[in-house]
């Protein structure tokens, strides 16, 4: 137990279970910091971080920004809209120009899968993937598993169902890698059109009946229907989706068992989940958001020491 095995956080795929444990243990201490009257520590006061966002984001971006500020880092924001990307500058040129101004770490979100991996082969600075296309969203998976560990004591042996738009979800893929590495049982559930072929090869069970998935699981991680990534129609209507695959209070009451409800946000209320479930006592959606800052502080802190 002494150091991360990686210099970048490109995906959960590249982490060992020990790395995840180190991140969790550090996040425990950062969570304590976040509950102090003075919620700030000087650890990264000599570090400059650029938040490179080629795709829209609210939660992740604010969460990273808060984590960076709580660690006393200097930060710069970059959004693709309104930048020279519109004039045709390549990703590598943009990043090299930013790094020439002595920036130490890059937090990046990009619509193309693999963009952070590509970048890591060409630059020295530490890179943290804040979501790349439909590939991975490692900090989300870490905070999800951290929240499960916090509520249920451990992730090992727990049954987690990931429900909804699996095909377009980087959260689903990162969650599968993370939960499997920590020894959980994972099931994916949703309409057949939104479940990728051969997903069983990742060691997960597949279920097309949401009720059966809920009856099986201890934790339900409900994903948003990503209409912006759906180039063709995968189901007849949102109303039909809500009827057959949405989670509502009646369904949970019928099943009559305690299930932890999670959602990475943003929620489409009334589609994948109804308001009475999202705001119920079983929902830990806002705990996830709180833990997100602690997890991101831990990742930034641990990687900043790897230069």
């Amino acid at each position: 137990m002494n150091a991360l095995s990686v210099n970048h956080l490109l995906g959960i795929k590249y982490l060992t279970p020990e790395d995840i444990e180190i991140i969790f243990e550090s996040a425990d201490e950062f969570k304590e910091v976040l509950n102090r009257p003075i919620k700030k520590v000087p650890s990264l006061r000599d570090t400059t971080i650029v938040n490179l966002f080629y795709e829209n984001s609210t939660r992740t971006r604010i969460s990273f920004e808060l984590a960076e500020k709580r660690l006393s880092a200097d930060i710069i924001h970059f959004s693709a809209s309104g930048s020279s990307v519109k004039k045709g500058e390549t990703l590598l040129d943009t990043v090299n120009n930013i790094l020439a101004m002595k920036v130490d770490m890059v937090v990046m979100r990009h619509p193309s899968a693999g963009a952070p991996v590509f970048l890591s082969k060409h630059i020295d600075a530490s890179i943290i993937n804040a979501g790349d296309g439909t590939h991975e969203h490692p900090t989300q998976a870490l905070l999800d598993a951290f929240s499960i560990r916090e509520k249920l004591g451990t992730v090992k042996g727990k049954k987690v169902a990931i429900i909804g738009d699996i095909r377009h979800s980087r959260v689903a893929l990162s969650n599968i890698f993370c939960l499997k590495k920590l020894g959980a049982e994972v099931m994916v559930a949703g309409p057949p059109t939104l479940i990728p072929m051969f997903i069983e090869s990742l060691g997960v069970q597949v279920e097309y009946n949401v009720r059966k998935a809920l009856e099986w699981c201890d934790v339900a991680n409900v994903l948003r229907i990503q209409l912006e990534r759906q180039e063709i129609q995968y189901f007849p209507s949102l109303r039909e989706y809500a009827m057959y695959f949405g989670i509502n209070k009646k369904l949970l009451d019928d099943i009559g068992k305690e299930i932890l409800i999670m959602h990475p946000g943003p929620i489409n209320r009334g589609v994948e989940i109804t308001s009475d479930v999202a705001d119920s006592k079983y929902s830990i959606i806002l705990d996830q958001v709180e833990n997100g800052v602690a997890i991101r502080m831990a990742v930034l802190y641990l990687l900043s020491g790897r230069r």
């Binding site: 002494n2 201490e29 009257p37 802190y301 900043s304």
Partner: protein, 183 residues
Amino acid sequence: MQPRIILDSKRFLLTLDRLCFQLIENHKDFNKTVLIGVQPRGIHLSDRLHARLQEVTQKSILYGIIDPTFYRDDYRTSEKQLIPKATTIKFSTANKTVVLIDDVLFSGRTIRSAMDALLDFGRPAKVELLVLVDRRFTRQLPIQPDYVGKIIDSLTSERVKVDWKHIDGTDRIWILPDKTSHP
């Protein structure tokens, strides 16, 4: 040079008792005094002193532990990754006298960072430092202890190791010829 014991278990206990009575002399009933152990190794000493002080004074004494990791100046230059440990301070330190407790005082850098960490929990009236071992002439910052178990003169290359009864079976202090050797 062989590893040698510089404080055996009998004198170790006497030293802990002396430190307790020195604290009682200066802090009387501990109404305005709190004890804070410094992570990672200072907490073994602070646990023992806190228990012994409560036994002698028959009073409950406020006690916390602090982890200076986030405030260190070597977190990036250090060869080892610095993994944080728990901080537990469930009271305000404002206007209190704080006794910081650590096992070995060497460069003074840990204490400097612990003091920075401490200030985030309020403005103490006074901060004192208690150490079990003061390695003289190795200081890199102007920091001196108020209470010392044992002063030793050692080379910078040597290492001082404290064994604790509840972990290692016996209370004793070793001096080892270099940083890598173990008894």
